[in-house]
Structures are given as structure tokens and as C-alpha cells.
């Protein structure tokens, strides 16, 4: 980057961090951090998307239950909640492939099973929270 650009904020300014002092890895070198998980920025984006997908599915389901008058719209049996979490994981993976993001993450060593889990785990966690809240609340 030319020095004349230094006065303007560029993507480099975001990268000037103490981490820049780390020694350079050899060619093909080991990753720093936990190798099989996506880098943090990607992981945050994936988890956010998983939560959005789960919330969208929950809203649709609640609307459907309310329209059919088939009971309390937010209360699901554990088996249905598990299915919902599985579906959220699958939809997360489908969306990832639709956006072709799996190619970059694959290039970073992140396998399909881990990508599926990034959709499944947040949904399963949120479903567990809802189940727990149902048992705790009077």
C-alpha cells in the first residue's frame, strides 16, 4: 500500500495488531487456534445465521399451530424440538452451500460435519433453553 493512503482508513489499519508480531508459519504450516473450527469471524457469522434460521422456523411453526388452534404455539414436545434443531442444522448447511461459503471453509480445513454442527448446536441449545424454561416456570 502506498504511504499516501496511510492517512485514510483502509483495511490495513484494521490489521495492525500485536498479532502481526507473530512469526510467520512455514509453507502449508499449522493453523493457529483450533484447526477444525472455522475462524472466529466466520464462526460468529455462522452461529448468527443458525439462530436466525431457528427463530424463523419457530415463528412459522408457532403461526401454523396458532392458525390450526393445535395447542400452545411455543410449547413443543422434546422429540419435535429435536427434529426442529436437526432441520435447522440441515437448512444452515444448505444455505452455506447455496452461498458457496463451504468452499472457503473447506479450504481452511473445516469439514462438512463441523459445518452441520454450527447450524445444529445453536438451535439445540435454544430448544433446550425453551424446554428448561417450561419446566422451571410455574
Amino acid at each position: 500500500m502506498s504511504s499516501s493512503r496511510n492517512s485514510q482508513p483502509s483495511f490495513l489499519s484494521e490489521l495492525q495488531r500485536p498479532a502481526a508480531m507473530r512469526p510467520r508459519a512455514p509453507v502449508g504450516g499449522e493453523a493457529t487456534g483450533f484447526w477444525h473450527l472455522p475462524p472466529r469471524a466466520f464462526l460468529i457469522a455462522l452461529v448468527t445465521r443458525a439462530v436466525t434460521i431457528w427463530a424463523g422456523m419457530r415463528v412459522l411453526l408457532a403461526l401454523g399451530i396458532a392458525l390450526l388452534d393445535a395447542g400452545p404455539p411455543l410449547r413443543l414436545p422434546a422429540s419435535t424440538a429435536s427434529l426442529l434443531a436437526l432441520l435447522a442444522g440441515t437448512l444452515g448447511l444448505v444455505e452455506l452451500r447455496r452461498r458457496r461459503e463451504h468452499l472457503l471453509l473447506g479450504n481452511l480445513g473445516v469439514g462438512q460435519s463441523v459445518l452441520f454442527l454450527t447450524g445444529l448446536v445453536p438451535a439445540a441449545f435454544l430448544e433446550s433453553l425453551l424446554l428448561l424454561a417450561r419446566h422451571v416456570s410455574p
Partner: protein, 204 residues
């Protein structure tokens, strides 16, 4: 010893045989170019090497060791980076964040500035890939590849439709990667330009 060896690969798509006993061997520090007409099987061969396609016959080896059931993630853990013709960038994330994430993961943060300059990525940092031209996306994708610091780089037609100046920039960056010890395989149609930057050239 070959850094990457794809041996006697045969691949069909339905009834159509795309590759018959095709092989690819590249050593560390070498830039190898594959040229050939559309439909010759260049992309298929690279995709088999990268673990994105499974060949009916043949094997893929890295540093002399056969990789069982290669997948992209498995090959990546062995140091391979596959650059497809289309963009690899995450559409919704600014380029700077993507470069930072990859460079932090692979300990190459100190190289970001050099790579940014080499590939003319000025002022693109806060842009998302959807706001970039095809040429900018290709250069940014190559920047990710370089910051990954791969032992093997497979680039599928990286300079197709790119202006000569940017094409040279990209080929120089790949040559530099080879100088640092990577094995680089590039496909394309641009025999003249590719020839200038290759150690070996094969026609498929």
C-alpha cells in the same frame, strides 16, 4: 518426491468419460500450467485433486502418501488450497475481516500488507464481495489463498477475463508463492502469458 501426485484418474459424468488415465505431478517450488480447450477436463482434474470430486479410478497423494477418500477439508489440512474459477469470498463479510480471519488462523498477519500491495487491494477492505468487480474478487480470492500459506495451490482459470496488468499481478503472486516452497498448478487458455510464468506447461 512429488508434493502432489494425481495418478491415472478416470472420471465419468453419466455416460460421458471426461478423464481417462489422467495424471498430474508437481514438486515443491514449481509452477505448473495446464492448458487445453474447454471440456478437456482441466477443471475436473483439479477438482479430483482437491477432493471435490471422487474419481472412479486413480489416487491422490501428497508428499508420497496416498490420501484415502480425499475431501477438500482433508486435503486442506495437508496444506492444499483450491481456487475455483468463481469467487471464494463470503458475500456478506467485508474483505478486511475475511483477510484478517485467514491470516490470524495461519500466522501470516505480517504478510497482509505485502499481499495487499502486490494484488492492488487498496480501498477494498471495507467492501463486501458483492460490491466488487470480477477481477477484484479474483485478486481478493488469491490474497486469501496466499495468506493461507498453502503447500499446494490449485488455481482454476484464475486469469480468465482479467485485464493483462491484473493477470500479471496474480501470476507474479503465484510465482512468489512457489519461490517460498509451494507447488502451484494453474489452468487456463492464455498460453503466452501463462508460459512466461511457468516452470512447466502441459496440454490436456
Amino acid at each position: 518426491m512429488y508434493r502432489l501426485e494425481v495418478d491415472c484418474v478416470t472420471k465419468h459424468f453419466g455416460r460421458r468419460r471426461v478423464l481417462t488415465n489422467a495424471s498430474l505431478r508437481v514438486v515443491a517450488g514449481q509452477v505448473l500450467h495446464f492448458v487445453g480447450p474447454n471440456g478437456a477436463g482441466k477443471t475436473t482434474l483439479l477438482r479430483v485433486a482437491a477432493g471435490l470430486l471422487r474419481a472412479e479410478v486413480g489416487r491422490v497423494s501428497v508428499d508420497g502418501t496416498t490420501v484415502p477418500r480425499p475431501t477438500l477439508a482433508r486435503m486442506a489440512r495437508l496444506g492444499l488450497f483450491f481456487m475455483p474459477e468463481e469467487s471464494l469470498l463470503t458475500p456478506s463479510m467485508p474483505l478486511a475481516r475475511q483477510l484478517r480471519a485467514v491470516s490470524e488462523r495461519f500466522g501470516t498477519v505480517d504478510r497482509v500488507e505485502v499481499v495487499g500491495e502486490q494484488l492492488a487491494l487498496h480501498d477494498l477492505g471495507d467492501r463486501s464481495p458483492t460490491q466488487m468487480s470480477v477481477g477484484e474478487q479474483r485478486r481478493a480470492t488469491l490474497a486469501l489463498a496466499v495468506l493461507r500459506n498453502p503447500a499446494i495451490l490449485l488455481a482454476d482459470e484464475p486469469i480468465r477475463g482479467i485485464d493483462p496488468i491484473d493477470s500479471e499481478r496474480m501470476l507474479q503472486a503465484m510465482q512468489e508463492l512457489a519461490r517460498r516452497g509451494a507447488a502451484v498448478v494453474v489452468t487456463g487458455h492464455e498460453m503466452g502469458l501463462l508460459g512466461e510464468y511457468s516452470d512447466e506447461m502441459y496440454k490436456l
